[in-house]
């Protein structure tokens, strides 16, 4: 009798769980459907074209050519260079935006009118369009940076252009990182800090042994998101360094090949390869961060 009652309770729990999960999935469905409609399905539809000699997107003429496009693109030193530029941009941008975002989060996570105003100011650049941010910064570089430091704008120098674009991206997105970190900081129970203080931990020790480990979920979110944004970098070079080879990113390379140069098959193969790299890198980074996560 007791067994039967327990069984009924367990079944009831399962039904409730399933209902909750079903409702959650229903909430996810619109976003997923939109994502699938505008990103996933077109991308999957595009994969077969990467195995063809398709030239112009307004032409129906295409023949299967196997892995020819992939082999050609892997050997293409200009595609490799574009990937190196993209990776360099991503590393500078991801580290810069996260370090500064965390620093500002630590400074501004306490509630006060001043902190709230500062947070709003810090977040504002994130609301500007990428191209607008790039154009504004092109003037900052020429009219402020050059005047203050007596140096030419980094956007006009091949050796500095990637870093120059990364600075723009850091300025724009560090406010977003800051907000995620602030949410993470607020989720850390105050008891942990009290216990650490009682154990004699100083500020640095509390930060490294309490704050950082409990902030790992925020790192996972920010680092992987910015990694994906960085690897898809397109708008900044398009807006301010279109004709510099040193600023060419993988996304620009793909855009040019598919739409500008009528080499759609080759461009599509490059896009598939970039996506694979992006997924792998994101997966690796997420794996390492998830492994370091601790529960509060």
């Amino acid at each position: 009798m007791k067994y039967s009652k327990d069984n009924q309770l367990a079944r009831g729990r399962r039904v409730r769980q399933l209902k909750t999960q079903g409702t959650n999935l229903l909430f996810l469905l619109p976003a997923f459907a939109l994502f699938a409609y505008v990103v996933l399905i077109p991308f999957l539809q595009g994969i077969p074209y990467s195995f063809t000699n398709w030239k112009s997107i307004i032409s129906d003429k295409k023949e299967f050519n196997g892995l020819h496009n992939y082999i050609l693109m892997l050997k293409n030193t200009y595609f490799q260079q574009a990937f190196v530029h993209t990776l360099t941009f991503t590393v500078i941008y991801d580290i810069g935006a996260n370090v500064l975002g965390l620093a500002f989060a630590l400074l501004l996570f306490q509630n006060s009118k001043f902190a709230n105003a500062c947070r709003t100011m810090m977040f504002l650049p994130f609301t500007t369009a990428l191209t607008s941010a790039a154009i504004v910064w092109s003037y900052v570089y020429t009219d402020v940076y050059s005047v203050l430091f007596g140096a030419a704008s980094p956007l006009g120098q091949s050796s500095q252009v990637v870093a120059g674009m990364a600075v723009i991206a850091i300025w724009r997105d560090m406010g977003y990182c800051m907000l995620i970190y602030i949410a993470g900081l607020k989720a850390i129970p105050g008891d942990y800090y009290e216990a650490a203080t009682l154990d004699g931990a100083n500020t640095l020790q509390r930060f490294t042994n309490v704050t950082l480990p409990l902030l790992v979920p925020s790192f996972t979110s920010n680092v992987t998101l910015l990694l994906a944004w960085g690897l898809r970098c397109f708008d900044y070079p398009m807006a301010v360094a279109r004709n510099m080879e040193a600023a060419q990113t993988s996304a620009m390379f793909i855009y040019d090949y598919i739409f500008g140069y009528s080499k759609a098959g080759l461009g599509q193969a490059s896009a598939v390869m970039l996506t694979i790299v992006l997924v792998l890198l994101t997966r690796v980074v997420t794996y390492f961060f998830r492994k370091s996560e601790v529960e509060a």
Partner: protein, 453 residues
């Protein structure tokens, strides 16, 4: 729980309806892309009815004066044709970034714009795929009596595919006051030009305002040398041979000579030379911070607007390329428009373009200040425009249309990228040699050719 489910279901429903709405657009497209009805205008005229017409014009005229010029010629045509109630849809993109990609995407998705700006030689895909009408037998174009170069610029494989409107050229625009204060006159030789640069620099003024932030500026600063020398040597098939791999850059000595000549005046570069776009460089020039700017006639309207009300005066000379007086005015058809035979209002579009290249040209020129191919210039155009028109009329020019084919978009991009890199090396002191520049450029050309195989 029930309300959560309801909200979720509602969101799904809205999403589904949105997608159905988006998807249904493509099914409607064929009806808007019907073949032109040749007898439509006559039929409506006979009945005295006003026909509703929409004309979509894809163009890359980023200059405000040209956009105003397009509006003016459209208004003039509409006034001449009360039988049409025309809705104009002018779609502008930047040629250097997204014009052709956007045009291709529009065509691939089923849109059929009536008029598309561009030299058909640059857009062979449009011609091959039947998006461009063959105008070889068009009586109005043939009646213009244009020279071979003008027709070459609107042709591909010997057939005419575009309506040529006006021409562009480029050279050195200079500040008359600075030249006059320093006792300088327009240089006739390259040595005189270099001496003038030195005199200006010695007076504490920057000789040049550069705009290498726009890719075209490296290109136009080299064209004068390359086009003039190539056409003089009879290398009319220069670009087609380079694109096919039949010839290499090193086979033509004037590429290295041209770079060497250019490098001599690249020693005078401002800190902002590599990042300025056209407008930023024009500001430097018109504010008197720099005495000269290598610039094109396409921006004269914007330049005039910028200096309106000020006492700024500018002059123009063709840049000398040597001390033997070999330089010639470079000419290229500027505004050129193809007409889409698949568009719904193809006939009206052709009528409009025929109007533009004839009596409508004056409406265009009066606002855009561009010199027309037939030699006429608006009365209100600056003297410089009239001078350019008269030089073109003399025939002592180097015309891009006299080459058998232009560089395609990938070769054009590479050509410009490596010229910009060459200029950059003189701004940062690394001073690339002409051979290094050509070697890097040739390697990229070879890559392009290998991909075509």
């Amino acid at each position: 729980m029930k309300s959560k489910k309801f909200v979720a279901l509602l969101l799904v429903l809205v999403m589904a309806l949105t997608m159905v709405a988006c998807g249904s657009k493509s099914t409607e497209t064929p009806s808007t892309t019907a073949a032109p009805k040749a007898d439509a205008p006559a039929a409506t005229e006979a009945k005295g009815e006003v026909k509703d017409v929409q004309i979509t014009v894809f163009h890359y005229m980023v200059q405000t004066t040209k956009q105003a010029g397009l509006d003016a010629v459209e208004a003039a045509f509409a006034a001449e044709h009360p039988e049409y109630n025309i809705t104009w849809d002018n779609v502008m993109y930047n040629q250097g970034t997204d014009y052709f990609p956007q045009l291709q995407t529009a065509l691939a998705s089923g849109d059929q714009p009536e008029i598309m700006m561009g030299n058909p030689g640059l857009y062979p895909d449009l011609v091959e795929q039947g998006y461009v009408a063959d105008l070889t037998d068009n009586a109005v174009i043939n009646g213009l009596g244009l020279p071979s170069g003008d027709l070459g610029d609107v042709s591909a494989d010997g057939r005419i595919y575009g309506f040529p409107i006006d021409f562009k050229t480029w050279g050195v625009f200079y500040n008359k006051k600075i030249f006059s204060d320093l006792g300088l006159s327009e240089p006739k030789t390259y040595t005189e030009l270099l001496n003038a640069c030195q005199t200006i620099a010695d007076a504490g003024i920057d000789p040049w305002a550069h705009a290498f932030g726009d890719a075209v500026f490296g290109d136009i600063e080299m064209r004068n040398y390359i086009w003039t020398k190539a056409l003089a040597a009879g290398d009319n098939d220069l670009f087609s041979k380079l694109m096919s791999g039949e010839a290499k850059l090193a086979d033509y000595p004037y590429f290295a000579e041209g770079l060497e000549t250019w490098a001599k005046r690249l020693q005078w570069m401002r800190d902002d030379a590599m990042v300025n776009d056209q407008n930023a460089a024009l500001e430097v020039f018109t504010s008197g911070q720099a005495a000269m700017m290598y610039f094109g006639s396409w921006g004269i309207g914007d330049l005039e607007a910028m200096i309106a009300g000020s006492d700024f005066e500018y002059g123009f000379f063709v840049e000398p390329i040597d001390d033997e007086g070999s330089a010639k005015l470079n000419v290229q058809v500027d505004q050129c428009f193809m007409v889409n035979p698949n568009a719904e209002n193809y006939d009206v579009a052709v009528q409009f373009m025929e109007y533009w290249v004839t009596e409508g040209g004056s409406s265009w020129s009066a606002v855009s200040l561009m010199p027309l191919l037939n030699g006429s210039v608006a009365d209100n155009a600056p003297d410089i425009v009239k001078t350019l028109a008269s030089i073109k009329g003399s025939g002592n020019i180097a015309h891009y249309g006299d080459f058998t084919a232009p560089f395609n978009s990938q070769f054009t991009t590479d050509w410009r990228t490596y010229l910009t890199a060459f200029a950059e090396s003189y701004s940062n002191g690394s001073n690339q040699s002409p051979e290094e520049c050509l070697k890097a450029m040739q390697a990229k050309f070879d890559q392009n050719i290998a991909e075509n195989g």
